[in-house]
């Protein structure tokens, strides 16, 4: 399986390359499958570092393999996914190469042959443009899902690289184990249906649970509803409860007290439903529905299967 961000970066590289060759470096234990995937995104060349041990390699072992290839290929720039592994391997490689690396970029573009690396700092409060004027390669790790991967057709050259896998002493890494979240956390949910005092009745609560299930999300509550047996502190949203950052938050019967609002600041899209047109929640919402929670919930249920 190829890290999706790598594919996104191939597309991005092709977009900004302006005549330069886009080469994918692929350390892999399953060359056939991974090469086939990478090919679909149209890099000019794929350099395959094939070794079974890459299934459970240490950061150093990966960095070492890449180092050998980089020394051979001498690229102008390198883009690496800012995944956990990417962010662990890249600086190790950076130190071997004695070059510059900018982590967690939100954008990269060329100014001549200088790669301008745009990254947020202070928790996204401030943007920096960083360059590596003299050393090569210019390295950047890029945030997942900032760019979209687009399949492309090209005559991709596939080469098996001549390199030596140097096992690292004194450390043994196991294969990663995927996490299947059974007891999901509301602060991780990508969709949250939030219920407040105005939605505090058994029928609505039941509907909300159903709706949440359909949307692949969870039900959260403002403080008053934590009196219910099924909504404990872990379901409470707000200052004394959980902070959530879902892609979609739908508030039912929530007035929008400050203590609640601080828990939802980072939600991407906020939809609020309330009978009171002056409810403060509306000023913090992207979409406002002034009306009955039941009506809106029924209408939504009818459209979401």
């Amino acid at each position: 399986m190829v890290e999706p961000t790598s594919l996104q970066l191939i597309t991005k590289a092709r977009a900004i390359a302006n005549g330069q060759r886009v080469v994918a470096l692929l350390p892999t234990s399953d060359a056939d499958q991974t090469v086939a995937t990478v090919k679909q995104y149209g890099p000019d060349e794929i350099l395959v570092l094939a070794d079974d041990r890459f299934a459970a390699a240490t950061d150093t072992e990966i960095a070492d393999g890449l180092y050998q290839v980089v020394e051979q290929v001498q690229p102008n720039s390198m883009l690496i996914p800012a995944t956990v592994v990417g962010r662990s391997v890249a600086p190790r490689l950076q130190a071997k190469l004695q070059t510059g690396l900018t982590a967690d970029c939100l954008d990269v573009y060329f100014d001549g042959e200088t790669l301008v690396q745009v990254k947020p700092t202070y928790g996204d409060d401030i943007m920096c443009e960083i360059i590596c004027a003299d050393r090569r390669p210019q390295m950047a790790t890029v945030r997942p899902n900032v760019f979209q991967a687009e399949p492309a057709q090209t005559a991709t050259q596939v080469t098996n690289v001549d390199f030596e896998f140097h096992p690292e002493a004194h450390i043994k890494m196991e294969k990663p184990t995927p996490i299947i979240s059974s007891s999901a956390n509301i602060s991780d949910a990508s969709v949250v249906i939030a219920l407040g005092r105005g939605a505090d009745n058994p029928q609505l609560i039941e509907k909300a649970q159903k709706l949440a299930a359909r949307l692949g999300g969870m039900v959260g509550v403002s403080r008053p509803l934590t009196d219910h047996a099924e909504f404990g502190h872990e379901s409470q949203i707000g200052q004394s409860g959980q902070s959530i950052a879902p892609d979609l938050l739908i508030n039912f019967g929530i007035s929008g007290a400050t203590q609640y609002l601080v828990g939802i600041e980072n939600a991407k899209t906020i939809v609020s439903v309330n009978t009171d047109p002056d409810a403060p929640i509306f000023t913090k919402s992207d979409y406002a529905y002034v009306g009955d929670a039941n009506d809106f919930m029924d209408a939504l249920m009818a459209r979401v299967k």
Binding site: A257, T258, P280
Partner: protein, 373 residues
């Protein structure tokens, strides 16, 4: 090094702020509802060394000055007035042992103040505010004293394990003795069910011919009232701090609400009547802070501080109740609702118009001091 003292105090205040925000404030309403500290909370307070802020280093304490500790109490009270008052009761008692205690007593008892609460008990069911009317007796027996009597309305009564007790000797002299819950003849009595500060236990102890060694006497025979008054003074400084914290919380709620809400299309904070209330609360809070801090400064520089301490408590408690009422009015319907903690803050503040000497008594003390100047 003056700079070191300042840095240390600032680190202390940051720690207390964080501890309060993370551990105490979230449980404030639950404590109010239950009328008790939840399991494990008090142990956390002990484990994080909060009981020995005032204690000198030689007894294993942190040795912070009284004004720094008062500020810490103020910061804690913003999030949880009950726990702040529990610490106040403990610290004011430790001050009396430090000032009047026999060295042997201090060596034996003070190191345990890290994990045991110390309390001061004067009031009895008979006496009310007049200490001379107490019935607790101390009878000399060789080098020891036999104490009999019962004390009510003790701050931390039931939670504390060591009690300073005001007693009368056979020749009608007032004296303070240190009594330990492990001593034979000691038992706990009734716990009060108060409308506020519901985490802070307030209760009764019963002493049935408890034998205490001679060195458990604080100061001299005849110094009992002086020590009792000193305990009040030390308490009142810290109560001023607690009240400042409560008013700070009331102010926060009123301000946040006024920013959030609109009357027709005007944000509340732009309305004059709201501005008046917010301004009054802010001024009262500032005044109380200045009073308690000044009283603390007088204490640590060895000057007379009883008057200013009395002012801090008297003015502070009246203000905190009045300001709570104003904040409630700012929130209107929501202020009257239990969804916001305003009414809880008023109930908490109300205690201090009574505890450690009623506001009426404060007026008497302050006025007579002015008259006798």
């Amino acid at each position: 090094m003056e700079n070191q003292e300042k840095m240390a105090a600032s680190m202390l205040h940051r720690m207390v702020r964080e501890f309060t925000e993370n551990e105490l404030a979230p449980l404030d309403m639950e404590i109010d509802a239950q009328g008790d500290y939840p399991q494990g909370l008090f142990q956390k307070v002990i484990d994080n060394g909060l009981l020995t802020m005032t204690l000198p280093r030689e007894y294993g304490g942190a040795g912070f000055s009284y004004d720094s500790v008062a500020k810490a109490i103020h910061l804690m009270a913003i999030g949880n007035a009950s726990m702040a008052v529990t610490l106040e009761g403990h610290f004011k008692t430790l001050e009396q042992l430090l000032k009047y205690g026999d060295q042997r007593l201090k060596d034996e008892y003070l190191t345990s103040a890290a994990h045991r609460i110390f309390a001061f008990s004067q009031t009895e069911s008979s006496g009310g505010s007049n200490p001379r009317g107490i019935a607790t007796r101390a009878v000399k027996s060789g080098d020891d004293w036999i104490i009999t009597g019962d004390k009510i309305m003790i701050t931390n009564g039931g939670l504390a394990q060591v009690y300073c007790v005001l007693a009368k000797t056979e020749d009608d002299q007032m004296a303070v003795f240190v009594v330990d819950q492990d001593m034979p003849g000691f038992s706990f009595g009734k716990r009060e069910d108060f409308i506020g500060l519901r985490g802070t236990p307030v209760g009764e102890i019963v002493m049935d011919h408890i034998k205490v060694p001679g060195y458990h006497l604080l100061g001299q025979i005849g110094q009992g009232l002086e020590i009792g008054n000193n305990a009040h003074d030390d308490a009142r400084i810290l109560m001023g701090a607690v009240l400042t914290g409560i008013m700070e919380h009331e102010l926060q709620i009123a301000v946040d609400y006024s920013k959030q809400r609109k009357a027709l299309d005007t944000p509340l904070y732009e309305l004059q009547t709201i501005q008046e209330k917010i301004s009054e609360i802010a001024i009262a809070r500032q005044n109380t802070e200045l009073l308690y801090q000044h009283a603390a400064q007088l204490k640590i520089t060895g000057q007379s501080y009883a008057q200013v301490a009395a002012m801090a408590k008297s003015y502070g408690s009246r203000s905190a109740v009045r300001c709570g009422d104003m904040a409630l009015q700012v929130l209107a319907g929501y202020g009257y609702s239990r969804e916001y903690p305003i009414e809880h803050l008023i109930r908490d503040a109300r205690a201090m118009e009574i505890a450690e000497g009623t506001v009426e008594r404060m007026s008497g003390e302050i006025a007579l001091k002015q008259v006798n100047q």
